[in-house]
């Protein structure tokens, strides 16, 4: 690594917040496991993260001590469960600096959160009194990008089919960055919503959104950012980000599966028609028709994932305790280390930015002609867990002319020794298939 002297008076390298990685690892029981006779090397956190004891304890304690349904009981347990559920909402609102706790809608995951917005559009389009910002028809345009996860492609394709609107997308450059050269043409007066990934789950690219946001404001469209890969790894401030909606999912940020978040500007959520009908989302119900609760309840029909929400609140506490700025820095160092280390593997080709700038700790690559399935299998035999396949982002694979990639992704508990184990495993794969 090159050492650069930073002039006195400037922020110094040692000023960045840090934490004890070994101490953090001790919080994650699963990291003590062995796989195929080797210590577990988990490099698949972009897929799902592990959960610290602090989160597992809260999950168990909720069922053991406070279990009851929420928002409908006057009894003590019901009150405790409701307070824990709404308390988690408040923690998550603070975590992303939401101006109001009512702007946090609990969903099953990011996919469901994006679908809620897409269906709000089509429901508004069907109602004569639908808010014009959510009304779509032939001639209107929806804009996404080529680097989206399938969850930010298919809901918009389906919405375009239902409404007759046109789906357009930003291309991706050879370096794996968003190609903004056609911005003014792509985002125009016909655009109703732009839905973009904040950090790519396959390329690792972190998209700079300010130019796009400015254009979206200029034409009066709405902006949704898929923050599934960014909220777990860096400080996110929705006010600063200036989006209209963001979505993220609990299981990638040390929380349980089955819980995700849709954050939306209060006045936009209030203008959106409901998507799922049922209990909890209503104001009054009569056989002739119903009226609906204000957000966030309007979008949370039925009994929600209560324990999961409470545990996600604990995950947010845990991450805040370690410090999101420190986690971001740790991963930046790991990424720089990994990019250098992977460059030493003969025949290895990285898809996405090859410099640790404007990217996160998720690195996709090809190992010569060896198929990713085979790479993943050899790595697994050495205890190294990576993801192989198209990563639910098939258009990216098509863009780079490969059917699949191998992907290593890092988190707050990842160490440089684990990256060394990856590189050693890749040598082994080259030997078997070379």
């Amino acid at each position: 690594m090159t050492t650069i002297a930073i002039p006195p008076g400037m922020p110094q390298y040692d000023d960045v917040p840090r934490y004890d990685v070994a101490a953090v690892r001790a919080d994650f029981p699963i990291l003590g496991r062995e796989i195929n006779g080797h210590p577990l090397v988990y490099l698949d956190s972009a897929n799902t993260s592990h959960k610290p004891r602090q989160v597992l304890d809260v999950l168990a304690a909720h069922y053991a001590r406070h279990n009851a349904n929420v928002s409908r009981s006057v009894h003590t347990l019901g009150t405790e469960a409701t307070e824990a559920y709404e308390g988690a909402r408040a923690k998550i609102a603070r975590f992303v600096n939401a101006p109001s706790v009512d702007e946090v809608v609990f969903t099953k995951n990011s996919t469901e959160a994006i679908n809620v917005v897409a269906y709000a559009f089509s429901n508004a389009s069907l109602r004569p009194d639908g808010d014009p910002r959510f009304r779509l028809g032939p001639g209107d345009e929806i804009v996404i990008s080529e680097m989206e996860h399938h969850s930010n492609i298919v809901p918009w394709q389906l919405l375009a089919e239902r409404t007759g609107a046109t789906l357009r997308w930003f291309p991706v450059t050879d370096q794996g960055r968003l190609d903004e050269s056609g911005l003014t043409d792509l985002v125009n007066e016909r655009t109703k919503i732009v839905s973009l990934v904040h950090m790519s789950n396959i390329l690792g690219t972190v998209n700079a959104t300010s130019r796009i946001t400015a254009r979206v404001r200029e034409v009066g469209a709405l902006l949704l950012l898929d923050c599934s890969q960014s909220v777990p790894h860096m400080p996110i401030d929705v006010v600063d980000l200036d989006a209209d909606f963001i979505v993220f999912t609990g299981h990638k940020m040390c929380g349980p599966t089955g819980i995700g978040v849709l954050w939306g500007r209060g006045e936009l959520l209030a203008a959106m028609p409901p998507v799922f009908g049922g209990g909890s989302m209503i104001e009054t119900v009569a056989m002739g028709g119903s009226t609906y609760a204000p957000p966030p309840a309007r979008f949370e029909a039925g009994t929600p994932p209560i324990a999961e929400a409470v545990a996600l609140g604990a995950a947010v506490d845990y991450l805040t305790g370690v410090g999101m700025r420190a986690i971001q820095w740790h991963e930046k160092e790991l990424t720089a280390y990994a990019l250098d280390a992977l460059a030493t593997v003969p025949g290895l080709r990285i898809f996405g930015p090859e410099v640790p700038v404007g990217r996160g700790g998720t690195i996709s690559f090809a190992l010569g002609d060896v198929h990713p399935h085979d790479v993943g299998q050899v790595l697994d035999s050495l205890g190294v867990q990576v993801r192989v396949g198209h990563h639910c982002a098939r258009p990216v694979c098509t863009r780079f002319g490969v059917p699949a990639t191998t992907r290593a992704s890092f988190y707050l508990y990842t160490t440089t020794e684990e990256i060394d184990a990856l590189v050693a495993g890749l040598e082994q794969a080259r030997k078997v298939f070379g």
């Binding site: 399935h373 299998q377 098939r394």
Partner: protein, 158 residues
């Protein structure tokens, strides 16, 4: 895990030096030709299998595709085992391969029936890889049906 049980020499050899690769036109213009393209949606592996037959004998089982060593070696073995066989005999081999792959490593394969296919016994112990090995065999079944042998056309996957 024993990596060698999965990647036996036979499999690696078929992968590195595939037999009968490439889609071919029927040598006999009177043959019925059926083709099927299958993908594994979880990993993006693809295979196209073409069967040329007079209804009695499978004159050629040709294929092309891209994928992992297991799926590509399996296609090579498929070609080698079934080309030139009588249709009913070919389906017995097909059945035996399916039985082996669904056996979770508990089925002992018969080398007289499966030839190099016995090398896939180890693959059956890896549930995540069974689909890779079966991909060409499932495509074969549909291709054969389209060529008028084997399964009824209603069973054919789009």
């Amino acid at each position: 895990m024993q990596l060698e049980s999965l990647y036996q020499e036979i499999i690696l050899d078929h992968y590195k030096h595939p037999h009968g690769r490439g889609l071919r036109d029927a040598a006999d213009p009177a043959d019925q030709v059926g083709e099927a393209h299958h993908v594994n949606p979880t990993c993006g592996d693809e295979i196209t299998v073409r069967v040329a037959t007079d209804g009695e004998t499978l004159h050629d089982v040709s294929y092309d595709g891209m994928g992992c060593s297991i799926s590509q070696a399996s296609a090579s073995v498929l070609h080698e085992l079934l080309t030139g066989r009588g249709a009913s005999e070919a389906f017995e081999v097909h059945e035996a391969f399916l039985t082996l792959m669904s056996g979770r490593g508990q089925v002992t394969p018969d080398e007289d029936v499966l030839g190099d296919g016995v090398a896939f016994e180890g693959v059956a112990r890896y549930p995540a890889r069974v689909k890779c090995a079966l991909l060409p065999w499932m495509a074969f079944k549909d291709a054969a049906a389209r060529a008028g042998v084997g399964a009824s056309p209603t069973e054919v996957k789009a």
